[in-house]
Symmetry: C2
Subunit: 355 residues, 2 copies
């Protein structure tokens, strides 16, 4: 297996993305319907659709827009949602594996899968491989805030991180926000228990020291706290995988609680139902803005190719959003942007690695 | 300074609580108005009100209910909100210090202050002292969830924790939920990045192993994730101070964002305003349920006395709630409950301390 060429989509014959057609609770229908939507938004893209050829060829024929931009590749197996990553590594001809192989071989610039998260992370790390300058890949996502979308990482790829990891996450988060949110100079914050310089543990203080000195060319704003995520105080929230995973799920849980309670409010009485109808246009805009499908797609950053994980239970709209994120990363040469950031960082003083 | 007797409120002449009258943004008015409310709910309580006697005696005379249950003690100084804990320790006659001294001397069973958090934590640890069985005190709070109030700890007293600390937090959280939420057998969960036994770092896995074996007599439900906080999956969420601080503030931030957006929704058009009026009774119940003042009061657990920190910016209603929490802890002999839990735990196998 060769290391992936960074941008096969710009080469004749290359694919923009390889798509795992058999991953996720509603595969392959949600995947194919999602590609039908994505084809409208990315008419110049070319997708390598990987899965059970017999099932896919008929299904694709019924989706003419998707069919126009997709090429089929057969893979006889699928990785179940509950399979352990170590077991998934041994399935040589799964749709997920064959799609990832296409990235490693330089045929596709990235991969999108709604399948088993642990398997995708393990396969991507082993087959596509981590960029030589990066110690550990990180999982990132986009979340809504009062001041627009924010990027958050790591979300659980690394439950224990040292200062060097956090610095690399900052460089990757910066590159990601430039590529996907289109921000020329994204502001970054390091998640901590207080915003004063002396707060937190050695890890975050050491990372902040390096980020503050400006060598990395980042727009680093210092420490931020939990409430800064929803407030949108900065564009990129950097943290370790344990804290990031808990924070993301805590915020999602709080928003879900509010949605459920509002539903109760507006069905609690006849006047409340009428009130809902009157306020409905604005409430619908709010619901649309908060729609989890708009934020579908967790991104594994730091590999020699673009890897996007769609939520397993999402529908066509959600899957199409995950494809959008991957296409933004491919089109805006995300991998090159990380390399630029890391070469600037190389000039900065480095804290010792602790792992 | 003597170690505090556990329940001076039950002794003739003892005070239920010492109150720092000069702490917080709106002191002493918010404090005194809060005591006026608290006096209605706790007519048998006796409070030692500590602060500038000249200012307080006139103010107290204007609040007859509070005056009936309060005794005044003069303290000439007040600790500013931005003073460093190390500096605060040197102010011998601050209202906060004199109130804490009263707990350490066994005159009062607990203390409530809306003043400087860092100073309160430092003074309480040094003067009231940590229980001999506890390695480190923890900061706890009560938060709303879909299934009723939940207790969360640690919220930032300890940014680095080992397995032993987490186990002690579980014992303290159990005792707190029994005393303050009145639950006979509170369910406990350890916050992690996934609910499977193998998820997370060594720390949480080791702690879970001890909690699972049942010696501590706790109703331990295993690992929980961020979204379980708002869902109310368990009554007590146990975590380290870094993660807990970030999670609490993230959840608060998400709820605040929703409140702000709903305000925008209901002022966005004339029909939306009318819709608000129609749904108002149910929306008001929702707002009341989520009112941060109902959840005012962070509790420092593991000391030889009850220590409750009210939010510095709260009003009388919020301060009265902080007093309620402290009174529940005093009345239900919270400190004894911790000791019971720890003695049960002593029979269980212990992971080595890592600090």
């Amino acid at each position: 297996m060769n290391a992936a060429a960074p941008h096969p989509s710009s080469q004749p014959g290359g694919f923009s993305l390889a798509i795992d057609a058999m991953g996720g609770d509603n595969a392959p229908d949600a995947v194919l319907d999602g590609l039908e939507l994505a084809a409208e938004r990315h008419p110049a893209a070319r997708f390598l659709l990987v899965g059970d050829e017999a099932r896919l060829s008929g299904a694709l024929a019924r989706r003419p827009r998707a069919a126009r931009i997709c090429a089929l590749r057969h893979a006889p197996d699928a990785i179940p949602g509950d399979m352990k990553p170590t077991a998934a590594l041994r399935v040589r001809h799964s749709s997920m594996r064959v799609a990832i192989d296409a990235v490693a071989a330089g045929e596709a610039a990235g991969v999108v899968s709604a399948g088993n998260t642990g398997a995708l992370m393990a396969l991507a790390k082993i087959v596509i491989k981590t960029m030589p300058e990066i110690s550990r890949p990180a999982l990132a996502a986009i979340a809504p805030s009062a001041r627009g979308d924010v990027v958050m990482l790591d979300l659980g790829a690394n439950v224990q991180c040292d200062a060097r990891n956090l610095i690399e996450f900052a460089v990757m988060g910066d590159a990601f926000a430039r590529a996907v949110l289109g921000l020329p100079s994204p502001s970054l914050g390091l998640l901590n228990v207080g915003s004063e310089e002396l707060k937190g543990d050695d890890r975050v203080r050491q990372a902040a020291e390096v980020l503050r000195d400006g060598h990395a060319g980042l727009n680093f704003q210092g420490f931020v706290e939990g409430h800064d995520i929803a407030a949108g105080t900065v564009d990129v929230i950097v943290t370790d995988g344990f804290t990031g995973n808990v924070a993301l799920k805590t915020g999602e849980g709080a928003l879900k609680l509010m949605r459920d309670l509002l539903k109760q409010v507006f069905t609690s009485s006849v006047p409340a139902r009428m009130g809902y109808l009157l306020a409905r246009p604005a409430l619908d805009r709010l619901r649309e803005w908060m729609d989890p499908r708009r934020y579908n797609g967790a991104i594994l950053l730091g590999l020699n190719g673009v890897v996007v994980k769609s939520h397993g239970g999402t529908d066509a709209t959600g899957f199409a959003h995950a494809v959008d994120v991957a296409m933004d990363m491919v089109t805006h040469r995300f991998t090159d942007r990380i390399k630029d950031g890391l070469s600037r960082l190389a000039a900065a003083p480095q804290p010792a690695r602790q792992d």
